[in-house]
């Protein structure tokens, strides 16, 4: 630990030693006690910390949000102190389609049937994926969507209203979270993993390799 690194810690993490890297904390605190210049820098950093703390508190989640989330949770109730979950349809969030503007809804309606028909046709002709169709537009797992036909979820794939083709990955099954992919978090690089299965869905619903 030297003065330069301690100054960095103050600029990066602020003045609270609890926010500093644990393996540098003790040495940094010792050095800070010996340097009036660094203590002055720490006071400025503490002022910015205080300003950050003055930002409005993040909103608490609403009971309605909690209810919606739990309504979609697995159903085996082993404890049961809470009232039975409401019917699934009662607490679902507004669908992607219903939240769209009328113009976009019309556009989606125009492509919905061709898309669904094309996908169904493709699925029935394809020998491999019989259980589900998974599609994704980016390489991170959070974008993975599981599509069960027929469903409005299909429309969410193409809700940009751009008329552009979209990329999709067609999988036999959803990849595991925590799978042995070497990233430490189990989010596979879908571009690499499923390159051979990537498809493009055109606005007209045509699926191409």
């Amino acid at each position: 630990m030297n003065a330069r690194r301690l100054a960095e810690l103050l600029d990066v993490y602020g003045a609270d030693p609890q926010r500093w890297p644990e393996d540098e904390r003790a040495a940094a605190e010792t050095l800070l006690a010996t340097s009036p210049e660094l203590r002055a820098r720490a006071e400025t950093a503490a002022s910015l910390d205080a300003l950050l703390d003055a930002a409005p508190a993040a909103p608490a989640p609403s009971a309605a949000l909690r209810d919606r989330i739990l309504a979609s949770a697995p159903r085996v109730d082993t404890a049961g102190p809470e009232p039975a979950a409401a019917p699934r349809h009662a607490n679902v969030r507004p669908s992607t389609v219903s939240r769209l503007e009328p113009r976009r809804r019309r556009w989606l309606a125009a492509v919905a049937l061709p898309l669904a028909a094309a996908l169904l046709l493709w699925l029935t002709r394809s020998p491999a994926p019989q259980t589900q169709l998974a599609a994704v537009r980016s390489t991170n797992l959070a974008k993975l969507e599981e599509i069960e036909l027929p469903t409005d979820d299909l429309l969410a794939l193409n809700d940009d209203d751009t008329g552009q083709s979209i990329s999709a990955y067609v999988l036999d099954e959803m990849p595991d979270i925590g799978c042995a992919d070497g990233t430490g978090l189990g989010c596979p690089d879908l571009d690499e993993l499923f390159d051979a299965q990537s498809r493009t869905i055109t606005p007209s619903g045509r699926i191409t390799a």
Binding site: L48, A50, A60, A73
Partner: protein
């Protein structure tokens, strides 16, 4: 004794409704807070939090504890937030700052009640990655390694984002709170 997050994930994977409730009650507030600070929009934050848990329900049965549950939850939430930010820009996410509201509240009528609002506005003008780094480390209380893991970057890169973000905040807030920053 309180169940660990990892133990709860196993129970959730078996369809244990009680475990689902505990997991939601333990993490929902933090996830909504993270998404709200990242996106600056409460409604979108709720949607992101709901999407995160829908992924938990879907994948819990195959969960393998290769990372802390909190890390994974934040990472999924971050990916969802980044996707929404990218859609707002209609382009790739880079270091470009958020559009600044051309009609900010009058900086010369700063009172104690206004400080928080100015800090919020200053945070929202930061480039998203800097804002995310500050949110993870300062507000969410993640350690540097965990925050870097969530952002899929190195600790060194995280430190650079934090330093640049704090420097920019100091410049912005010095004009409205010089005394608070010792610059009076």
């Amino acid at each position: 004794m309180e169940d660990s997050d990892e133990a709860l994930m196993v129970r959730v994977g078996r369809g244990d409704a009680a475990a689902c409730r505990i997991l939601v009650d333990r993490h929902l507030g933090r996830l909504v807070a993270f998404a709200a600070r990242t996106l600056g929009d409460r409604g979108e934050a709720d949607d992101v939090a709901q999407d995160v848990f829908e992924r938990v329900w879907k994948h819990a049965a195959r969960w393998e504890p290769r990372a802390k549950v909190t890390t994974w939850l934040h990472r999924v939430a971050l990916n969802l937030c980044l996707d929404r930010l990218a859609k707002r820009r209609e382009g790739p996410l880079d270091d470009a700052p958020e559009p600044v509201d051309p009609t900010p509240s009058a900086v010369d009528r700063l009172h104690s009640d206004d400080v928080g609002r100015h800090v919020h506005e200053a945070l929202m003008t930061l480039p998203p990655k800097q804002r995310i780094a500050i949110t993870l480390c300062h507000y969410q209380g993640l350690g540097q390694r965990e925050a870097a893991e969530v952002m899929e970057t190195s600790v060194e890169a995280l430190e650079s984002l934090l330093a640049r973000g704090r420097r920019a905040l100091k410049v912005q807030l010095a004009s409205v709170a010089p005394a608070l920053l010792g610059d009076a």
